[in-house]
């Protein structure tokens, strides 16, 4: 009886060790790889404390600042702050209106970003850029992954041809 009691303890300890290992793996990997979503304003507010961390920043593309060298694939542009919360965006009249406001408002915070890679077709004035990367010492956002959304592309599709009957 005693022996089987010991056997049970052995298995419980073994199970707990595995659980601890899994928790450690999750915690340390989350710590090392979590990507924080931020708006341009939040990024400005945090400043140097987030330099080098993985971030995901969204902003409105300022068309006049887009510069692209097709030889080196160096791409740079500026984005203006847009709210990060969908409810807030809806309250301000939808994504298209929010992006338009952000671009024409001269008082908005701007963020300069650089990226190396082919220029996406959707990169244009008043597009929403969702950028994964990190803030450099130079205050420029270095983008590893660039996603673009144009509000018109995401409108609910309804049929065009109407043939009332």
């Amino acid at each position: 009886m005693k022996k089987s009691g010991f056997g049970r303890v052995k298995f419980i300890v073994g199970g707990l060790l595995i659980l601890a290992a899994v928790i450690y793996l999750i915690a340390s990997s989350t710590q090392a790889n979590a990507e924080y979503f931020m708006t341009v304003d939040e990024l400005r507010a945090k400043g140097s404390s987030v330099i080098g961390r993985d971030l995901r920043v969204s902003g409105a593309v300022i068309g006049s600042t887009i510069q692209y060298d097709p030889q080196t694939l160096d791409l740079s542009f500026e984005v203006a702050n847009v709210p990060g919360d969908n409810k807030e965006i809806d309250a301000q009249g939808g994504l298209a209106a929010v992006l338009h406001q952000a671009v024409i408002d001269p008082n908005r915070a701007h963020l300069k970003v650089i990226y190396n890679g082919p220029k996406p077709d959707l990169l244009r004035d008043e597009a929403q850029a969702i950028m994964t990367g990190h803030l450099g010492e130079d205050g420029i956002f270095h983008v590893d992954e660039l996603l673009l959304k144009c509000p018109t592309k995401y409108e609910e599709a309804v049929p065009q041809q109407v043939n009332g009957g």
């Binding site: 089987s4 056997g7 049970r8 052995k10 298995f11 073994g14 199970g15 595995i18 659980l19 290992a21 899994v22 793996l25 999750i26 340390s28 990997s29 989350t30 090392a32 790889n33 979590a34 990507e35 924080y36 979503f37 931020m38 995901r56 097709p70 030889q71 694939l73 990060g84 969908n86 890679g117 082919p118 220029k119 077709d121 994964t132 592309k153 599709a157 309804v158 049929p159 065009q160 041809q161 109407v162 043939n163 009332g164 009957g165």
Partner: protein, 670 residues
């Protein structure tokens, strides 16, 4: 009219499924054979009915009835007929109907089996199948109706089944068409495979519940569903592999698996299902882990429902869309309800499910199987955490955060490594009792050969730690498995005097489950070779080159010859580049990476030019081009080492699973 007919058939089937639930419960409780039989007949009738509804929808899809919202959203005039038909599962509403179709087919197949010895299970298996079927039919009827039509109202266009007040029907002359990314042979069979896997896991769950309700908690339910479970697992695995292959062929990012939440949603039931396949063997052989097996099949069932929801609803593009979709809360309610009731039943029968013998040795076969299960659960927890962490973080700290592939890779790699180590050791350990000494005696020979392989790889110039450990484990599993085949065949050869090949053949034939399982182990490590190759050795380069210019990567040279743009059938504009590829000075041939632009949906699709060998793939993507200027075109080139082993492993995997699932020649009463 036809749409009304289809909708009516679904409503009738739904009522029939509800009737069969009621009749089966009454039949079981009142011990009335007539009511149970009535439930069975109702269940059998659902299959032809859902078949009629599905064919109705297929007919509407094939004949371009764009006044239906679903038909409008997934088909168009320019699509070929086979795509119009397979658009049945091209969108959410259709795939829910498809799910119901498969569910009714499997439930009918099960109710047709011989039930003499298992009479008491029948009504409860019908209850679980019919409740699941009724749930999916209800979603189709009330929320995601594939037969809903377009109407023009004063305030705009709406989709509804019945005419809103003052509305006139809309009759579009063409549809939007299926998302071009989905117009790929891999994508046409990938969803049905995944769904076959999902739905067939409902059957073992139904039997598990029947066992809990009736109190017949021996391993009978496991023996009945063993083959079902293997086939379900085969389909689910095929679905995952086909999805990976599709991503590699058409998504144009040089990879095959992105730890996307949708992928993870399909991967999670695979993890619990794989753990279940292993641990049921312990229950059959040793009468242990009964409660655990119940828990695993309950989890698998609910992860299947969860996976169906996530893979098709599209909610994952934004977690906030949950609130906007009416079917989200319903899915969660259904999952919650089934989870709570199943676990309550399990707790109720907890004492009946006590192990018959106690696990003694930490190195016994059953202990290593348990460890294998815990590791699979570990991977599951990592995946689950990755999916829900953004939600938790936002709720608790109001900080939006996400985790990407590096999180999953880092957290799961040690667990997968440990699983491979177990694959190497467990087949050599003994049931009941094993010590370091006995196990060491069996393992040292293959382990030594594996160590020599690691040394050889190191000497050959590969010093990456992950690669060395990974390939060492691959070698260990391969040698142990071959050693097992050899040992078994030699023993038979000595005993029966058959020649070695005959002995090997008969050995595997008599013990299909075991040797099929070993083949699956081999297939897994072959896949691991491909995954390691991609993870550790993948390199890439990109650049804009003029005509005649070149890009160099890993000893290959890619020279840009020309680019042409033209329209083709199916409403596509194709931009196709010609590049010639050299390895050193040797000319390997022309690649044709291209970009197809679909006019009606406005979506591009990138198709790489690939040269595939056992050692590596060269994968060239056309990214951008300037037709007139002298700048030329932009290419991205990947060098994907060993990736072919992933697909070769998949083929071995199918073979191994078929061997394991093939009915034994001699059927003992078991």
């Amino acid at each position: 009219m036809i749409a009304d007919f289809g909708y009516g058939v679904i409503v009738v089937t739904f009522l029939l499924a509800l009737f069969s639930v009621g009749a089966a419960v009454y039949g079981a409780l009142a011990k009335s054979y007539r009511w149970a039989e009535s439930a069975r007949r109702a269940m059998l009738l659902t299959f032809p009915l859902v078949t009629i509804a599905s064919f109705t929808l297929i007919y509407l899809l094939a004949t371009g009835h764009y006044e239906l919202e679903y038909v409008y959203s997934v088909t168009s005039n320019s699509m070929p007929m086979y795509l119009k038909i397979t658009a049945l599962w091209g969108g959410q509403a259709g795939s829910l109907l498809f799910w119901s179709w498969l569910m009714s087919a499997f439930a009918s197949a099960v109710t047709l089996r011989k039930w003499e010895r298992d009479r008491e299970f029948l009504p409860w298996v019908i209850v679980v199948s019919s409740v699941t079927l009724a749930f999916f039919l209800a979603l189709t009827i009330f929320f995601e109706d594939p037969f809903a039509r377009w109407w023009q109202t004063a305030s705009g266009e709406v989709a509804a089944m019945f005419r809103p007040a003052g509305a006139v029907p809309l009759m579009p002359s063409d549809g939007q068409g299926l998302n071009p990314l989905l117009r790929h042979p891999g994508m046409i069979i990938h969803p049905p495979m995944l769904y076959l896997g999902f739905v067939s896991f409902v059957i073992p769950y139904a039997f598990a519940m029947a066992a809990l309700i009736t109190g017949r908690t021996d391993d009978r339910w496991i023996r009945i569903t063993r083959r079902w479970t293997l086939v379900a697992w085969l389909f689910l695995s095929l679905g995952l592999v086909l999805g990976a292959r599709w991503a590699y062929d058409v998504l144009g990012w040089g990879g095959y698996w992105g730890w996307d939440p949708v992928e993870i949603a399909a991967f999670m039931p695979w993890l619990t299902g794989t753990a279940f396949l292993h641990s049921v063997m312990i229950q059959e052989k040793r009468g242990m882990l009964k409660q655990w097996n119940m828990l695993l099949i309950i989890l698998t069932y609910d992860l299947v429902i969860f996976g169906t929801f996530l893979t098709r609803s599209g909610v994952l593009s934004s977690v906030h869309a949950f609130a906007q979709s009416a079917i989200g809360p319903l899915f969660f309610a259904f999952i919650g309800l089934t989870l709570v009731s199943s676990v309550s039943l399990l707790v109720y029968r907890w004492n009946d499910l006590k192990a018959e013998v106690e696990m003694k040795s930490m190195l016994s076969r059953e202990a290593l199987f348990l460890l294998n299960n815990l590791l699979f659960m570990g991977v599951l927890i990592v995946c689950f955490w990755g999916v829900i962490f953004p939600l938790i973080s936002e709720l608790v700290t109001n900080q939006k955060v996400t985790v990407g592939p590096p999180f999953y890779e880092r957290a799961t790699a040690p667990l997968f490594g440990a699983l491979m180590l177990l694959m190497g050791i467990a087949p050599l350990s003994a049931w009941g009792h094993s010590t370091f000494k006995t196990l060491g005696r069996a393992v040292w020979k293959p382990a030594l050969v594996a160590a020599l392989v690691v040394v050889a790889i190191f000497v050959a110039g590969i010093h990456n730690a992950v690669a060395l450990i990974g390939f060492g484990l691959v070698a260990l599993v391969i040698f142990v498995t071959l050693y097992e085949f050899w040992r078994g065949a030699m023993a038979r050869h000595r005993r029966t005097g058959e020649n070695f090949v005959t002995a090997l053949w008969r050995l595997a034939g008599r013990n299909r489950r075991r040797y099929g399982g070993y083949l699956i182990h081999i297939s897994m490590v072959l896949m691991a070779i491909g995954i390691l190759g991609m993870q550790v050795f993948q390199t890439e380069t990109q650049g804009t080159i003029p005509q005649g210019g070149s890009l160099a990567l890993a000893g290959y040279t890619v020279t840009f010859d020309s680019v042409a743009q033209f329209d083709t059938a199916g409403g596509r504009n194709v931009t196709r580049a010609v590049v010639s590829v050299y390895k050193g000075d040797q000319y390997l041939g022309d690649f044709h990476p291209r970009r197809d632009y679909y006019y009606e949906s406005g979506q591009p699709m990138t198709i790489p030019g690939v040269r595939s060998t056992l050692a590596d793939d060269l994968y060239v993507i056309l990214v951008d081009w300037q037709p007139i200027s002298a700048i030329g075109a932009t290419f991205k080139v990947y060098h994907n080492s060993l990736v072919n082993w992933l697909w070769i492993g998949s083929l071995v995997f199918i073979f191994g699973t078929l061997v394991a699932a093939w009915p034994e020649k001699v059927t003992s009463g078991g």
